[in-house]
């Protein structure tokens, strides 16, 4: 029997997802013995031409991390889709856009200005900006086109499974590999983590009283958080109620509130659900009292959609000039 072929690829991501695959430690060796890697730009030396030379559908499964923000990423994603039987959106960025998709709250011009002109660590006296074509000594150099929107992977190509997390946990990755090799994956389109709120498995859930109100929102550096009490009761914003279970509560066990990397618990909108939750627990019964507490949330979109702006209901900042 030939070994299943596996490709791992990255787009707009930080490399943490690739790192998390290595983090499954010695199990990676067992897996590597049972499969054949055909592409893994972060860790192994394959060229895209190797993939182009494969027959269509030859790769058993491809794990793609990162959203799509430029034409190169789109081309490679489409190539891998064509050559693969199964594609897994690996991690929060591929599934929901992830942290990089916060750029959707700005426009491309603002991105260029901030990254290439105004950032204090950048020295750019000639004010050079990335261009698709530029002439240097009679040569024309080309770069991929940067899009003004970061797309989640399934906006560009068909995706069979979604593995949440920033990055996915070692347990989930090991489980995924086992099921890929031995079978037992659920129906296509599934998100490979339990469809329920993180609060269900949170060790602090018991400490949450039936009724409580958040009087003033605090940030984690402003108080010394009790290591056992529900964060919301301590006036700290915890995304647990609107976030999917399955991470093993690693942040919470480290005394940090959930920031929502496992995405929405169902097919709805993570931010809308969090606003729904907060409506029930923020203190105040008049507009001004409500606003006083709400003022404590400086950046609602960035807080509630930290990992899912591209997958949010509104998706990106409205384009003014159309």
């Amino acid at each position: 029997m030939t070994k299943p072929k596996i490709a791992i690829s990255w787009n707009s991501s930080c490399g943490g997802c690739d790192e998390s695959i290595v983090d499954i430690e010695d199990k990676i060796l067992d897996i590597a013995a049972k499969v054949e890697f055909v592409l893994w730009p972060c860790a192994m030396d394959f060229k895209y031409d190797h993939v182009r030379a494969l027959p269509d559908g030859d790769i058993t499964v491809s794990l793609i991390n990162g959203g799509i923000q430029n034409s190169h990423q789109e081309e490679i994603a489409r190539l891998i889709r064509k050559k693969s039987k199964t594609v897994v959106a690996f991690g929060a960025c591929a599934w929901l856009g992830g942290v990089p998709s916060l750029i959707n709250l700005k426009n491309k011009e603002e991105l260029f200005k901030s990254s290439y002109l105004e950032s204090i660590s950048v020295e750019n006296p000639r004010k050079t900006l990335p261009a698709i074509k530029s002439k240097v000594d009679n040569c024309t150099l080309t770069l991929p086109e940067i899009y003004d929107t970061l797309y989640k992977l399934d906006d560009i190509i068909g995706v069979d499974y979604y593995l949440p997390g920033c990055p996915p946990t070692a347990d989930l990755i090991t489980d995924l590999f086992l099921k890929l090799i031995e079978g037992g994956l659920p129906e296509k389109g599934a998100v490979l983590a339990p469809a329920r709120s993180l609060c269900i498995s949170c060790p602090r859930n018991e400490t949450k009283p039936d009724n409580f109100e958040i009087d003033e929102i605090k940030r984690i550096h402003e108080i010394i958080a009790d290591p056992e009490k529900c964060f919301l009761v301590q006036n700290l914003l915890c995304m647990g109620p609107s976030t999917r279970d399955g991470c093993g509560c690693s942040c919470i066990k480290g005394n940090m509130p959930c920031t929502g990397c496992f995405g929405p618990a169902d097919k709805s909108d993570q931010g809308a659900k969090m606003i729904g939750t907060l409506g029930s627990i923020l203190k105040g019964s008049t507009e001004s009292e409500a606003d006083r507490v709400i003022d404590g949330i400086a950046d609602p979109a960035g807080t509630f959609y930290r990992y899912s702006t591209a997958a949010s209901m509104l998706g990106r900042k409205r384009k003014e000039d159309r």
Partner: protein, 144 residues
Amino acid sequence: MADFKPKIVAFLCNWCSYEGADKAGGQKLNYYAGIKIIRVMCSGRVDPYFVLKAFREGADGVMVLGCHPGDCHYRKGNISALKRMRLLEKMIVQFGVERERFMLDWISAGESEKFQKTAEKMTSRILNLGPLKLEGYVKRKAAQ
């Protein structure tokens, strides 16, 4: 812009605002016909998701109307709605949607005239702002 016919989605609570709108109808008080009324049991039932979905699917404006504070049939559903919607208003601005495209107000079962006035106020606001044209997140062609 002259032929702009705004689409406005209005979530009305069963116990007060829907009654108020009903009464406005009974009294033949005119208001803009492009306001699409959706009856909900309570303004507290309006998930912020519904509002975002309305915008995404083509609404130029969204209204949530409930019982006056203190009059909620379920005691404080409208107060939860108040807090949700104030936070939601703050957030939609970050997505480039003007705060004025959303309205939360209180209308009792007897306030048919207030319903008419509020509806007209919202309509003129949206007429001034123009179409939302929220393409949002343009889904690219997915190749399976």
